[in-house]
């Protein structure tokens, strides 16, 4: 028993295994492009980069903390009511985040409106709590939460960047496409602002991701 503890204590904070927890969700097991979870918010809030950035940060905070809390409680949660416990934890965290957003970035919070609240129903969060945090120690759970949220956030930001650049000609609200283009006859693409284009953009990302990484292609 004591020996076992020693070896565990010796395991470095950023061992190869722990690093993978952080890096895998960004690449090979990305929650959006590979597991296709949490797509709803990608469709809804990616019209502008700023809003998606705020949402991505919010999700990172909720997932990191949520995983830590559930991991801490993992021995005390009766299995039969674990979902409701997870929900309570996530809901409290989301309310906190919502209050912070309203206090500091009110306009963005108005823009995100219901989607901050809907973080609760984000399948990725519940999925990681259920699949990882319930059975793992605090530190790996934390890394796993941050990693998955980062994987989610990175796709969110990519989609938002594409949509804002081509749909509004700007990034983070600053105009990127020079005026000379517009004088020459360039017009912003109105379809980019509509939700279907978010779906198509995500689809193209999945396509690119799979054609680069052949092991992701599942033939069924």
């Amino acid at each position: 028993m004591s020996e076992e503890k020693k070896t565990i204590a010796k395991e470095k904070l950023f061992s190869a295994k722990n690093k993978r927890l952080l890096s895998d969700p960004i690449g090979k097991s990305n929650p959006i492009t590979v597991q296709v979870l949490g797509v709803c918010s990608v469709l809804a809030v990616t019209v502008q980069l700023k809003a998606s950035l705020v949402l991505a940060i919010a999700v990172v905070a909720v997932m990191g903390l949520g995983n830590v809390i559930i991991s801490l409680l993992r021995h005390g949660i009766p299995p039969r009511i674990r979902i409701i416990v997870q929900l309570t934890v996530v809901a409290s965290l989301v309310i906190l985040v919502d209050q912070v957003l309203e206090a500091f970035v009110y306009d963005v919070s108005r823009q995100l409106s219901v989607f901050v609240g809907l973080i609760i129903t984000n399948c990725i969060i519940m999925g990681r709590l259920e699949a990882f945090a319930l059975n793992n120690k605090v530190w790996p759970s934390f890394l796993d939460g941050i990693g998955n949220a980062a994987g989610y956030g990175s796709i969110l930001l990519l989609v938002a960047a594409v949509r804002e650049l081509f749909g509004s000609g700007s990034l983070m609200g600053y105009q990127i496409v020079p005026n000379a283009f517009y004088e020459f006859g360039y017009v912003d693409n109105g379809l980019m602002i509509l939700p279907p284009m978010a779906l198509i953009t995500v689809g193209i990302m999945i396509w690119v991701h799979r054609s680069r990484d052949k092991e992701l292609v599942d033939v069924s």
Partner: protein
């Protein structure tokens, strides 16, 4: 002829395995089959290879598209000079139209085929000829004032998202040409609706005539103001509109070619017209405004109805495959088109959306038709079995 074959045979080794341009074999193959059908024979069983391969089929559709194209080119010039109030020679009208229309066609072909060739080389499959038709359809369903770069973007979108994503020609669920138009319609609405149907670029000293209106007949009916063109003009196509859609007569000529060669489905064409006419009659009964009270037959010669029915709805890939399914599919396209036109103020023309919508439903229609047939046969078999037992 012999010299041409010799030339092809001479350059061929360069593109075959181990040759210098091995990577571009598919590009070479595409051009080779343009000239000659390859000397392939079947290996197993007694399958007969028809000389009527996809490339030849597509050429027939192109031939069927020539009447509306030629008429469209002339009409572009005609409308332009009419808007300026100038009397000019027939040839000047054609020349003006050609200068405006041909670049659109060139862009559409260059972009589309470029992507098509790139994908064929990358995936190592034959270059699909389906795009030969799509690239001709795209310019015909656009207004002549569409900027060329928009044509390029829309074509690229249609080829990549409409076709290559699903695996190329024959796999697409939507009509690529209509997808290109829908893309432009939603992406750049100000360029595809309103009074953009006539090219009104003015040279020095020119001006538009007083009281000029570039509104299409559909816009006039939807707004309830303006003077409608006569039925004569509507049928022959002396009206503003997308390049190829205006002349019902030219389209009927094309339809004749399609039906005679057995490429276009007569069932779909007729049922689209019947569907539109029936819905028009139905709206007449409940008419509360001028548009609803409009004679039903006029729907068939206004806007893109005929063009959609003949060239778009009959696309063999995205339409229903079963016989009965084709009737249902076509009929619903006609019904929806008139419904959208008359009852939805946001979209003056409903043909594009109706066809795309029914494209999505075509497999479902087929499924139920097939299931119904299976059930029918099962009950018949049971009956026979009962009789024989008794």
């Amino acid at each position: 002829m012999k010299a041409l074959i010799n030339l092809v045979e001479k350059v061929k080794p360069n593109f075959e395995k181990g040759g210098r341009f091995e990577k571009f074999y598919r590009t070479f193959e595409a051009f080779e089959t343009f000239l000659y059908v390859k000397g392939d024979v079947t290996h197993n069983g007694s399958h007969i290879r028809d000389a009527m391969d996809m490339k030849r089929t597509m050429i027939h559709v192109i031939i069927a598209l020539i009447p509306p194209l030629l008429f469209g080119i002339w009409n572009v010039g005609f409308q332009h000079y009419k808007a300026l109030g100038l009397e000019v020679q027939f040839l000047d009208q054609v020349l003006f139209g050609a200068i405006k229309v041909i670049p659109i066609i060139v862009v559409s072909y260059a972009v589309g085929l470029g992507i098509e060739f790139a994908f064929a080389n990358a995936r190592n499959h034959e270059v699909n000829e389906g795009f030969l038709v799509s690239a001709m359809l795209i310019p015909l369903v656009l207004p002549v004032t569409t900027p060329l770069w928009m044509v390029a973007v829309a074509t690229a979108f249609a080829v990549v998202i409409g076709k290559e994503v699903f695996g190329g020609t024959g796999m697409n669920i939507l009509n690529p040409a209509l997808l290109a138009r829908a893309f432009l319609f939603f992406a750049y609405p100000s360029y595809l609706s309103g009074e953009i149907w006539i090219d009104t670029t003015l040279q020095e000293g020119q001006q538009l005539i007083d009281g000029f209106s570039g509104a299409t007949s559909l816009a006039i009916m939807a707004a309830g103001e303006g003077t409608m063109p006569s039925d004569f003009d509507l049928f022959f196509g002396f009206i503003p509109g997308s390049i190829g859609e205006t002349s019902t007569l030219a389209i009927l000529l094309g339809a004749f070619v399609l039906i005679a060669t057995g490429i276009g489905s007569l069932r779909i064409m007729t049922s689209v017209f019947i569907g539109g006419f029936a819905m028009g009659l139905l709206l007449n009964i409940f008419a509360v405004n001028d548009f609803m009270a409009m004679p039903a037959y006029r729907h068939l010669i206004m806007g893109g109805f005929a063009f959609g029915a003949v060239y778009m709805a009959t696309d063999p890939v995205s339409a229903s495959q079963t016989g009965t399914g084709k009737y249902i599919y076509g009929f619903l396209i006609g019904v929806l088109t008139v419904l959208i036109r008359v009852l939805n103020p946001a979209y003056p023309e409903g043909m594009m959306l109706a066809i795309l919508f029914m494209n999505v439903f075509a497999p479902l229609i087929d499924h139920y038709v097939v299931q119904a047939n299976i059930r029918k046969r099962l009950t018949r078999m049971k009956k026979v079995r009962l009789q024989t037992q008794a």
